[in-house]
């Protein structure tokens, strides 16, 4: 597939900067998020959580809480012992899976572990009562860092597994020993991808309502996966799935943290059934930091082998993954995605990876924007830069030397992937052009003359996206769409994707309107209610447009066939074309409108042979492969010698996400993604002390980027359509995050390279840089 350098609209709406359909409700404050839901007789829950990272529960006394007027019930571990467990959807050979009860039984494993739930008539009383629940703890030794947990004599997170090892995983491709034996240069580095807190602006929340007559439960939850949540929750609660309805209302951001099934979702279902009243639980920000999954949490040991001319021969990785105390939905699977993307955008075919999954007394890690791929990209992009430095090559040159060429696609990687399409030089060359690279290097040389520490950092990233073919996913990798045209000719799209800010109510309407030749206003897109939408998978892994979009497209193709058949009947012609919203007779040019066809299809006076009445098609699309977006980011930074503070002078992101449905929204995804990558590179870190207390436990101590901390982002695009799907799209939700952190770290390392600095771990806090400056660069 040829790469296009100047994006152009390919349809009346597709490819255009269409403003979003979802916005009017959001800008007027009339959207409904979970906490906006009110139900008659609704109660409120407050959860009592462990103040210790490891402790034995010797007793719980809820008498005083129960005596408080307005308190309806207090439930503890023994009440829910038979429910659950909180599911782990990942399977790996020999994986140790601790039984994850929805309330702690006789022991707690991380600070914030839920111990009891208090239910009261209002949230203030519930909160007061929670303070009155007396829990008698016997504190136990805890371990909160993965390498410490692996050390001999470390406290056992789960007493049954004293080595704190949940699994090991080995993967090899090619002949890595030969590669290293033949290498002319080998570079090694330990690289940390620190624990991050996803921090969606809306915390989690659940409302559960039990209909005793129907024996039916409705759960409203701030989730990215309504249908998977329904299936898993039904199992946890012992309910038939058809009596459980999950409604995902407006969701205030997820970034992977709501791609999960949490104890509280089952717990609220249980409470609603027990008390016979609707119940609401809204997570506080502190709970969100303590109890919603974290991301990353790697200690990586890399070795890269190359020839003197810069040809990369092979890569070895020992990956220590901090899992936390339990497996949430995908916890152990996340580092395997890092291994998949180890080769990055490069041609070398020899890899070796060993993962050790380690239990710690911390909240579990799981998918956070990029989920394994930012860690992998950070690793390979750092190693390539270190190799370039070792060989005194320009970082752009070494990358250009190692890219596979466009005619080598589909490109088989050493990790077993087949990269769909790519022209990896295109975005890099475009980015170099945008910054005027030769002049920039000249400027840098001059800056260095003046004693200024200016750095230029490149990253050329790739990602595996659009999860994914079903065999490669734990619960199906397809996506579904129903497209229906009502008797008046208006269009409704039901998607199994579950957008929560990405804007598919707009992009899917653009696709449908173009395909059906109707106005955008004539299409609505619904999602997120299992009683309304056919089964679906959800929104994560840059998949909604790349897997859900084609489902919409294919459903419409089938629908068009039916429209033509009804059109042919109305026009009494065998040769009819459906175009621009009308069925036109090819012979005499007579036409009928879509509304006329729709009315006739429901009135059903006559039916085309073999056809049912009505205009509605459901399509489940199974993708034949992942997609592989890519791009190049360049960060220009300067380090303040006196303080170690990093300033970003310029930031250029050129992404290739295949065809673009809506450039306005793609830019938004890139900006937001880059902001999160910058957050990791410069500011964010979940800090636990040795006892497993979260020191970065509030927004006062965990720094997500504010407006003043972000530079102006210059974006560009190249377009290499994906052959995997008919829309040619690849997905863009995670690209910015994946590209950003290595560009920034490479830039700052470049700035400090005259002092001999080779590597800096994230976050690049001023003090860390300052220490390097004090030591003359010798870390």
């Amino acid at each position: 597939m040829a790469t296009i350098l100047t994006p152009q609209a390919t349809g009346k709406l597709v490819g255009k900067r269409v403003r979003r359909r979802e916005d009017p409700r959001l800008i007027t404050g009339t959207a409904t998020y979970v906490d906006d839901i009110q139900k008659p007789g609704m109660h409120h829950a407050c959860i009592v959580r462990s103040p210790y990272a490891a402790a034995r529960i010797k007793g719980i006394n809820a008498q005083a809480a129960l005596a408080l007027p307005g308190v309806a019930a207090v439930f503890t571990g023994k009440d829910v012992a038979a429910l659950g467990p909180v599911p782990c959807g990942a399977s790996l050979p020999g994986l140790r899976v601790p039984h994850h009860h929805i309330l702690a039984q006789d022991r707690v494993y991380f600070t914030g572990h839920p111990v009891a739930v208090v239910v009261a008539t209002d949230r203030y009383i519930a909160r007061d009562a929670a303070d009155l629940v007396e829990v008698d703890y016997e504190e136990l030794p805890a371990v909160a860092a993965p390498e410490k947990a692996l050390a001999p004599g470390a406290p056992a997170v789960h007493p049954e597994w004293p080595d704190n090892t949940a699994f090991t995983y080995h993967q090899e491709g090619g002949d890595v020993n030969k590669a290293f034996a033949e290498a002319e240069v080998i570079v090694k580095q330990r690289i940390i991808s620190q624990r991050l807190i996803p921090t969606a602006m809306e915390t989690r929340g659940v409302v559960a309502e039990w209909q005793p007559g129907d024996k039916a439960l409705t759960v409203y939850s701030s989730s990215q996966i309504p249908h998977l949540l329904r299936s898993l929750l039904a199992g946890m609660l012992g309910l038939p799935e058809n009596r459980l309805r999950v409604v995902v209302p407006e969701v205030g951001g997820g970034f992977g943290s709501k791609l999960n099934v949490y104890a509280e979702e089952a717990l609220m279902g249980f409470v609603a059934m027990k008390i016979g009243k609707p119940v609401k639980w809204i997570e506080s920000r502190r709970e969100n930091f303590l109890c919603t999954i974290h991301g990353r949490g790697h200690v990586d040991y890399y070795e890269i082998a190359a020839k003197k001319d810069g040809t990369i021969l092979g890569l070895k990785l020992k990956l220590i993954q901090d899992l936390g105390a339990y497996h949430q939905l995908l916890t152990p699977a996340i580092p395997t995605l890092s291994v998949l993307m180890m080769p990055g955008l490069y041609r070398f075919k020899n890899i070796l990876a060993d993962i050790v999954g380690v239990f710690t007394n911390c909240v579990p890690t799981d998918a956070y924007r990029g989920a394994g791929r930012p860690e992998a990209t950070h690793g390979i992009e750092r190693m390539v830069d270190m190799l370039a430095a070792e060989l005194k090559m320009d970082p752009a040159e070494i990358r250009l030397k190692n890219f596979p060429q466009p005619d080598e696609f589909p490109f088989a990687t050493a990790t077993g992937l087949s990269y769909d399409s790519g022209d990896y030089e295109a975005p890099l060359r475009r980015a170099l052009e945008l910054v005027d690279y030769p002049r920039l290097r000249q400027e840098q040389a001059e800056a260095r003359q003046q004693g200024r520490l200016m750095g230029i950092g490149l990253s050329t990233y790739g990602e595996v996206s659009a999860f994914g073919p079903s065999p490669a996913t734990p619960a199906g990798g397809w996506e579904s769409a129903t497209v229906k045209i009502d008797p008046a000719g208006k269009v409704t799209v039901l998607t199994g994707a579950s957008p929560h800010g990405q804007g598919e109510e707009t992009t899917f309407a653009q696709i449908a309107a173009d395909e059906l030749g109707v106005d955008l206003e004539d299409v609505i897109v619904l999602h997120g209610d299992t009683a309304v939408v056919q089964y679906g998978i959800g929104t994560f892994g840059s998949r909604a447009t790349a897997v859900g979009g084609p489902a919409v497209y294919y459903a419409i193709q089938k629908l068009k066939e039916k429209i033509q058949k009804f059109g042919a009947l109305l026009l009494e012609s065998a040769e009819v074309t459906f175009t621009n919203g009308n069925c036109v007779c090819n012979r005499n040019g007579k036409s009928v409108t879509l509304a006329q066809v729709a009315a006739a299809s429901y009135r059903a006076m006559k039916l085309p042979p073999g056809e049912e009445p009505g205009l509605q098609v459901t399509y489940f699309w199974e993708p034949p492969n992942f997609t592989f977006p890519f791009g190049a980011h360049i960060a220009v930074t300067e380090v303040d010698r006196e303080t170690g503070r990093v300033s970003i002078l310029r930031y250029v992101a050129v992404d290739d996400c295949g065809n673009i449905i809506n450039p306005l929204l793609v830019d938004g995804q890139v900006h937001g993604g880059v902001a999160q990558g910058m957050g990791q590179a410069l500011y964010e870190q979940a800090v636990y002390d040795n006892n497993g207390q979260l020191l970065s436990g509030e927004l006062t101590d965990y720094a997500i980027p504010k407006a003043g901390m972000m530079p102006w982002l210059e974006t560009g695009h190249t377009i290499t359509p994906s052959p995997v799907n008919p829309l040619g799209v690849k997905g863009v939700g995670e690209a910015g995050t994946i590209g950003a952190s290595p560009a920034l770290v490479n830039s700052v390392v470049d700035a400090l390279s005259p002092l001999g600095v080779r590597h800096i771990d994230m976050p690049m806090l001023p003090e860390k840089i300052w220490q390097l400056l004090q030591q003359g660069g010798q870390a």
């Binding site: 979802e22 959001l26 007027t28 404050g29 969606a200 602006m201």
Partner: protein, 156 residues
Amino acid sequence: MKRLISVTINGKQRTDEVEPRLLLIHYLRDVVGLTGSHIGCETSLCGACTVELDGKAVKSCTMFAVQVDGCRLLTIEGLVSNGKYHPLQEAFWNEHGLQCGFCTPGMIVACKQLLERTPVPTEEEIRHGIEGNLCRCTGYQHIVNAVKAASAKMGI
């Protein structure tokens, strides 16, 4: 002991009995039923709960309802007048200044304050002016564009 408060919210006066500890944001959301302002933290940092109190942007999660007795409040719901969006609402829409939308109501109210005090802000002034409002989706760039667009439109 509950106390009687009298407040004008979005131009309408009302009187309610409230517990002294009832936070203004809970009063607005749970008592008055104006759920446009949101709660994103408990440390007065995220700004999702921002409303206007006697013409000044404030974080309604860091006040008690009893403190606004006798005051005028404006929330995101009050920005639409005669069915027409405020220029900032229009600009956030046009410039894609929001994604998940959770921070948006508070962000727009904060931006309104910014434009009242600095009608033609520079990029730096915009970024400084919205320091009290966190957005995890947009990277703020489209918000900067939206404020500039609204400023241009309001200046006409």
